[in-house]
Symmetry: C2
Subunit: 588 residues, 2 copies
């Protein structure tokens, strides 16, 4: 090695030793005949010291030549540092350098490489390899490394077998849009990149692999929202001979293990919340459970008083913002404007202040007297000092809007601490969703999701009310993973296809070879997949997954660092039997 120790390794116990360190120049100070250089590597920072009085001239001269981000090697003695730096683990010592080598020079970097940087997002994306030198970015990826290892350790320990499924697979019309790969050897034909290894993992269950996992890249050619990537990583798992409870236990075990091992957090037992309850209590199938502020419905006490907004509403529902009775006009206007934003879409906000003296002040005093408001407050379990916030309208949209308001209030009240974790299972999702456009039911999860056995007889009579044997894991309002018990019985499967309005031929065309495989003894099985980028972001206490991916793409799907995608040679297109239909601006 070109070093004897890393830059994070030396302690007082090394004093007197001859060492060689190598790394990047973080900082140079030159003062009163002394030069100090902070040399940095992945493991830490160590101070190098040069003294005009005792170091030789050449070394001093060389030390004066080095600039920020130069790569150097320094040989010398570990000595006690005069002014110790308790902030860094190596802060008790420094190296009195006898020999300094410049291993490589550096141009002045385009932004400051430190936790606080002057580089904007675009600049840092272009020079991602320099952004990755920053401690806070690298630490995210170190945590990702740790999560990768611990996840695999847990699953291996629990008899899951890691199996690599193919990346060049077959395009299917179901689901999101595929990325495709033209085949040179098979003209006019294309591979598709997997949106998930769903089919393959079910085949592995048919193969008797019993427990499968893989941490795997998946691909979706969708228009990218702020926090979506065209390629993303998934913890993909499947188990045979299990009930829903077995799967929930196994993966509750996994997530608790990861939180304990990586964050030192004891997650506690995960409650099971039925979908219907999550929707009525929180207006969301991924409720943030770090705080309460549950929904209370007011139809019975708020309708019929002549207030047309309430009287004409399908649902009148609100939350209790505890201790917010003192909110000012301005604050209440902010909240009203918040719920009226187009993406939230409420028409207005009704508030009731529960004053300290036991009286009430509301925005609908014209229609409701103190007695009426008192009834409401009782419904909410409100105390003097609390603020009731109420929305009304179409049930679905109103719940959705109130969910947003609840989260906003949670944020305002500091109830959504990034270092507090509240996890739950949301269960009993509807099996089918009615699609107005195509006028038929769609599988909410996918067409192999098993119905809840208790609802099986309703598959024909009342398909919309059938619950799926499906589950999501939700942590801090984020859907971390989801899955289902699959259908393994061909009769149930064919009834499912009927409910989805597939003809036998359509079912065969789209799912043919999986259907065939299922004829040779498919075991009862089920599985789950976790968004690994999302898991990393959650563990890092951040919202954006981009900071947890080494080389992410921007919202146009571009990697601005390598400037990809890009044009390719016409020869290459010819070999692939393809022609562009959009005239290109240049011939490359």
């Amino acid at each position: 090695m070109l070093r004897t120790h890393t830059c994070g390794e030396l302690r007082s116990s090394h004093i007197g030793e001859q060492v060689t360190l190598a790394g990047w120049v973080q900082k140079v100070r030159d003062k009163g005949g002394m030069i100090w250089i902070d040399v940095r590597d992945r493991y830490g920072v160590t101070q190098l010291m040069f003294d005009e009085g005792s170091s030789d001239k050449e070394t001093i001269a060389r030390a004066r030549e080095v600039g920020r981000e130069f790569v150097i090697a320094a040989k010398g003695e570990v000595i006690e540092r005069v002014s110790k730096n308790a902030k860094i683990p190596t802060g008790d010592v420094e190296i009195k350098v006898a020999e300094l080598t410049v291993l490589n020079e550096s141009k002045t970097p385009p932004f400051i490489i430190d936790d606080e940087t002057d580089g904007g997002e675009d600049l840092r994306a272009k020079y991602r390899y320099l952004d990755l030198r920053r401690n806070i970015v690298r630490k995210n990826l170190e945590m990702r490394h740790q999560l990768l290892q611990k996840t695999r350790a847990y699953l291996s320990e629990n008899s899951f077998m890691e199996v690599e499924t193919p990346y060049l697979i077959k395009s299917t019309p179901e689901g999101a849009r595929d990325f495709v790969v033209p085949s040179r050897m098979n003209p006019n034909q294309f591979y598709a990149l997997p949106q998930s290894p769903q089919t393959f993992k079910q085949l592995l269950m048919v193969s008797g692999f019993d427990r499968y996992f893989q941490i795997v890249k998946c691909f979706r050619d969708e228009d990218l929202r702020a926090d979506r990537q065209p390629e993303f990583t998934q913890i993909d798992c499947e188990m045979s001979f299990v009930t829903r409870e077995d799967i929930l236990n196994t993966f509750e075990g996994m997530i608790k293990y990861l939180f304990k091992e990586v964050k030192g957090v004891d997650l506690g037992e995960l409650p099971h919340i039925p979908y219907a309850e999550a929707m009525s209590k929180y207006g969301s199938d991924k409720p943030d459970l770090r705080f309460g502020m549950e929904f209370h419905e007011l139809n019975d006490v708020a309708q019929g008083a002549g207030f047309v907004v309430f009287d004409s509403a399908e649902l009148v529902v609100g939350i209790n913002a505890e201790g917010c009775a003192e909110y000012t006009r301005k604050q209440l206007d902010e909240l009203t404007n918040f719920v009226k934003k187009p993406q939230i879409g409420a028409k207005g906000l009704v508030y009731v202040k529960c004053n300290a003296d036991g009286t009430f002040k509301s925005s609908v005093d014209k229609f409701f007297d103190q007695d009426a408001l008192k009834k409401w407050a009782e419904k909410f379990g409100a105390k003097p000092g609390d603020l009731l916030l109420i929305l009304a309208g179409d049930a679905g949209k109103t719940r959705k809007a109130l969910n947003e308001l609840r989260l906003e209030m949670g944020t305002r009240l500091g109830l959504r601490d990034k270092n507090t974790y509240a996890a739950a299972w949301v269960v009993d999702f509807p099996l089918l969703e009615w699609d107005e456009e195509t006028e038929r039911y769609h599988a909410m999860h996918h067409p192999f999701t098993s119905p809840n056995p208790d609802d099986f007889d309703k598959l024909v009579s009342d398909p919309g009310s059938v619950r799926a044997n499906a589950y999501d894991m939700v942590v801090n309002g984020v859907e971390l993973g989801g899955g289902s018990i699959r259908i393994h019985d061909r009769n149930v499967q064919s009834q499912m296809f009927d409910a989805l309005g597939f003809t036998k031929e359509e079912a065969q065309e789209q799912f043919g070879f999986l259907m065939s495989a299922f004829e040779y003894g498919a075991p009862p099985h089920g599985g789950i997949a976790f968004g690994f980028d999302r898991l990393c972001a959650l563990f890092g206490g951040q919202d954006s997954i981009r900071d947890f991916i080494a080389f992410p793409k921007n919202t146009s799907g571009r990697d601005v660092m390598i400037d990809s995608p890009s044009v390719i040679d016409t020869d290459q297109l010819e070999e692939l039997h393809l022609k562009l239909t959009v005239p290109s601006k240049s011939d490359q």
Copy 2:
């Protein structure tokens, strides 16, 4: 769980317990009022027992209905088996079944699901999910799982950080042909799938990640030879601040650890064989070192005797097949035909039998007397009873042919046992190869491979003689991995580009952003990549990697199980701004 134990778990100590097993029906025997069913899962096989005398009628009837590969669950008491089966770990017990459930039926499988199968290769490929049920196939993948875990454990333990690099990257004209992915959002532009994460791992070194690894899929759109896959898995690694010796030590450590942990084999220390020595001793840069049979050159003693084949040859070279002096005419003819095969290309084979009585008998007795042949035998270190096999011609081609003959003799003499492992490093590869067609030098490894510092001054004067700081790990004649110390110095890099005949502009165009990254402080670094499929096959003692991949493709790059690649919708093509140039046989 739908079972209390797996089918591989029960022992005498369980006798008397009530258990439930679930799995596939391997075999049914019905004899004298008794029925035995072997039930199988990933973990083993257990015998179920039904007795007309004591089991209830319904259960007996159901037991008689099940066929091969039915999925069943059986509940009953563990009892001692009358005729024990020492061949299987559960052979001391059986289950006296009280309750039998058919979880799923199965059609009769298209081939026998057992170690010995009647299924041909094509049939098994089409029904790969059934082929994977066979023990010997699944065991390969279980070993693969274990190698995955152990590899990552070793590397993590040695401070390597796993970093996932992108799959949608940029096409480059260098190297093999890329698979490309059209971008819908960026018309006329394409991503490429990585042939390896080479650029990204070097960027991670520039980022100061110090030690990187990843077990990653790579893609090459090449015409497929028998044992090549369009997608394959690589153990990809890179280290900073290292010399060649550090890398060799680290990965020698890895391979020895894997052999010890997974095979229980102590690999011993790996010799370092210079490329030139490998070529002159074995005619190959990946010599099979399980046996000696080194080359001996005869030019000085065999030329000038009037035998024109030798006299006109650049090289006369042979091997000593010990103990083969008794080879018959037929055997010798076989060997002659072997070396004359077009893919081997020798013109003929000269043999010398070292007879037991000390005399010699050769195919060139006309030109060489006993004294001359004796001199040859001395050169070969041959004893009475040995057989010398000699080729002559152009040096390169002759060595290549003799390598094949050496391997053939090794096989014939049983010197290439699959359970014996001989590993070595081949080092000091040439940096550059002269390409007759383009009349310029090409980088043998890649253009960032560092020259051996001792040869640096010859980069201009005698580029062909410069050795690379590159290395391959060779085990049993298979190149398992290879890598190099990279160039981190821009002056060396620009001289390298000169030697390769690149203009500055060409270099910039092809390697621009890596070159730019290197201007911001690139550390000295180097790395290696191992073919993971190959490693698995080697550990499994087999030649074909296909048996170690869950869902391999055939030599046309097709997955015959899912029937991929396939045609895609015209809508999809339109969205991608593409048109097919080959008329399609149908519109899908």
